[in-house]
Assembly symmetry: C3
Homo-oligomer: 366 residues x 3
């Protein structure tokens, strides 16, 4: 790339502070930037990086005073959301992926009655089974499996080695990363005399528009009915979503989370990394489950929970602090115990000495 | 489907309460049922759903009194195990999977000296390496890899993109879900001066009859000898089973569990979601490890354990309750401490006032 | 195999104690050994196994006195590192893998401008995209995907169904187990009014020499810049490594660990099974994070941490012991509370009786 700061500012709708004619030749993080790079400051926590970076220009949320590094002033482009603006720069000038070209690779195996939209790209060794349909402009990378009668919307990106089983539905602009499995059987058995008889899992999975599914994530089909991922929800890598789970719109599910069967997650909820949610509960809208927490019952809307089992975040923090002080508390209890014993002994003595004059109503210490 | 309640009752061996001639046209959960559906009540916890469901008939474990919803009585079919009965209904009337047809897809690559049973189905882009054998009626979905000299029994279902490495043995009626990896190298190194030298993993994996292995689960081959999964054991998605682990018969291993090397799991044990078991320990028969627990030593037969590190379930619960009360306890200790200090001060004063008359044997408070 | 103990001792550079002419016909663990097997004792914890094993000879770190089992003395081969010596025996005499032969399988799809080294083996249904390069002697198993302009060094082993996306770099002697995904998009969004806009992930992944990557592990590409795995680092199965993570040389990352974005792991660090590391922190060199721990802030070099949140190992252990005693502590506090109340009552009575003579300066107990 070779572009002026002025041109970049136009792309992102920002205001330039400094030399608008400076030439930008690369894109980088503040930390890794070399001369000529455009970078960004999204998190105020990293503002100190500005004095160390080699970047030529930086996207910022508000003007930074006098950032001069290595003798040269950094040009600032002030924007509402530096993260979002940086994304626009990357999309416009960054390296492009190299997907399979539109058309069907000659090695792909396409079943009977398959419906393909306009401009669909199907890579090598892809299998599309009978009755499946794929929307306009969707790109299917090599070695993907699409089961019978599954439908995939328009403008989707299905990366290599994804497995989408039969009778599923994916909306438009869905992205599925390599190795993800959608529509595998739910884990359900009827145990009779210790032997586990498989309960057929004949439901489906419904993935709505704008969902993203991470690498090697698994989403099980429903026993009957459907497993549903709401519009705009983003799911990271190695996540497990069990049968009949329903996830609302615009949730964020971070890596290695596990959600057990029939649980419902309200819209805008955030499940942080490695947390686990038991089956048959409801997580309210906008709730946050912090990393590695284990949810064992319903979580209210907008609640923030933490711990195993997960409880209110502030209560959990108070408990953690209390546990940190516990060895000290126990030493204190031991000391108090000795003191009380001492007091008892002394008081007995006092009472003995007063005893002659006697007649107190108090229970004597044994 | 279009069948009478009477016919369904015959399929499941149940007793009809209500109109046996009612026509059933679909299968659903109580929650999602629409008019004409057969549903089931397996967990008494959900009995309240009966008054809300639109189902026309329901499989129940015992007669439910007067369940009339939306003005129409629900027909009941009383069976011993509603879960199991519902499974029979689904198998008989539900949608069927569409596996590759018997025969070898022309794109499949079959090595030398491969033995195929009767009626085997091998899908597109499957690789079966030299010396492997596949039993009667087994279905291999597309894009599966079967390594040299591995043997797969009869009536197995191997879903797309499964990787089964060389010299492994799978029994009959084994189901392996998409993306699972069986026989990868165990994680073993001899570290010399900080450098980790790979210890070759030349053992095998033995999967016995009726085992089910979840999507993207990984089962490592033994260093020497074997990793073994006992007959009838069911393993969910994204589970990690390390080298030389031995799992007994009829266990249930829920999603994202990890079992470290050389550990033994007794038959009928249950490992709930996301729990972890350290290497070289033994989990007794019928033991239960609750979700997200971390087992660091042997667990007795029939024990139920919980926590990190996992301990007896009731003890763990008592500790959790104790921790919940801990901030209160610490406030109480602070208050007691002040009171004791006060008592000490007062008692010193009392002793001072009595002192003139003196002669008490008690240790004076310092 | 059929070899004398003397020959084995030469291979491993060991000293024989006992009959050097004994014939060895197999390789096994002490536990599973049958007559004629060579085995090893790496962990002194298992020394009792020596009296039970059927092995004919055993690799040991130091002479074991008088190990006679089942009436026959076991021949000992004394070596510096029995683990490492056993690995040498296995490599020399154990079963060999059956990789695809050198050359390009006729079904493989090789893009334009691909560079292949000498003696490269490419299996069936492999896709190598344009501009990729593969070093000498590297073996690519079937069904692997290698994206455009990615480079793989010499002497690598890439197992079936691995997905390596575009513009990545793998060094020499790298081993990638089945189903692993390298270079998937990092999980990054700019949320505007609750809608999550994808931040393009256009950075790369750099895997250095001698790295091993486990089955179904996922390593995300950087947002910009690189995700880096240092030379000699070994990663187990189902591990998640997020965008822009940097892992130093010779680390060991055990199964199901998750490392969030931009975190740095110092060389020789050990992350035990299922632990999680938050984003943007630094784990020092040689630090150890114990199993299932959750690291939420920087960890010093050589530190050993444990717990959620992870703290110093000994402090965590002390807290665990304290919690174990907590129900007892709370009973003790209850008892103390009653005693203090009693003391207060009695002291009030004493003061009342002394009161007539009055004049004490102490604050009266309320």
């Amino acid at each position: 790339m070779r572009v002026t700061v002025r041109e970049l500012a136009e792309v992102v709708g920002g205001t330039v502070i400094g030399d608008a004619e400076r030439i930008i030749t690369g894109i980088s993080s503040l930390h890794e930037a070399t001369a000529g790079d455009i970078s960004f400051l999204a998190n105020p926590k990293y503002v100190s990086f500005l004095s160390e970076t080699r970047a030529a220009a930086v996207l910022v949320a508000g003007e930074q005073s006098g950032i001069t590094t290595r003798g040269s002033e950094i040009v600032q482009i002030v924007v509402a959301n530096p993260d979002y603006a940086f994304a626009k720069v990357v999309v416009t000038y960054g390296p492009k992926a190299v997907p399979p070209p539109p058309g069907i690779h000659p090695t792909a195996v396409i079943g009977e009655s398959v419906t393909l939209g306009l401009n669909v790209a199907i890579g090598a060794f892809v299998v599309v089974c009978e009755g499946a349909s794929i929307g306009d402009n969707t790109i299917i990378y090599p070695q993907v499996y699409i089961g019978a009668h599954s439908s995939i919307g328009a403008d989707c990106l299905i990366y290599p080695q994804v497995s989408i089983r039969e009778r599923l539905s994916l909306g438009a602009r869905v992205i599925v990363h390599p190795g993800a499995v959608i529509g595998s059987d739910g884990f359900g058995y009827a145990s009779v005399a210790g032997v586990h008889h498989k309960i057929p899992q004949v439901g489906t999975v419904q993935i709505e528009d704008d969902v993203e599914i991470g690498a090697n994530t698994t989403i099980d089909r429903a026993r009957v009915g459907r497993t549903r991922i709401g519009k705009g929800t983003k799911i990271d890598n190695l996540v497990q979503i069990a049968h009949n789970v329903e996830i609302g719109e615009h949730c964020r599910i971070v890596a290695q989370v596990g959600i057990a069967g029939s649980t419902r997650i309200g819209k805008y909820a955030v499940l942080a990394g490695q947390c686990g949610i038991v089956g048959h509960v409801t997580i309210g809208e906008q709730a946050v489950v912090t990393a590695m927490s284990g949810v064992s019952k319903d979580v209210a809307a907008k609640a923030v929970v933490r711990g195993i089992p997960a409880i209110d975040f502030k209560t959990a923090q108070a408990q953690e602090i209390a546990v940190r002080r516990l060895p000290g508390t126990q030493a204190q209890v031991k000391e108090l115990s000795a003191k009380v014993q001492d007091l008892e002994r002394q008081l007995t003595e006092v009472l003995r000495r007063l005893g002659a004059g006697g007649g107190a109503g108090g229970t004597p210490t044994p």
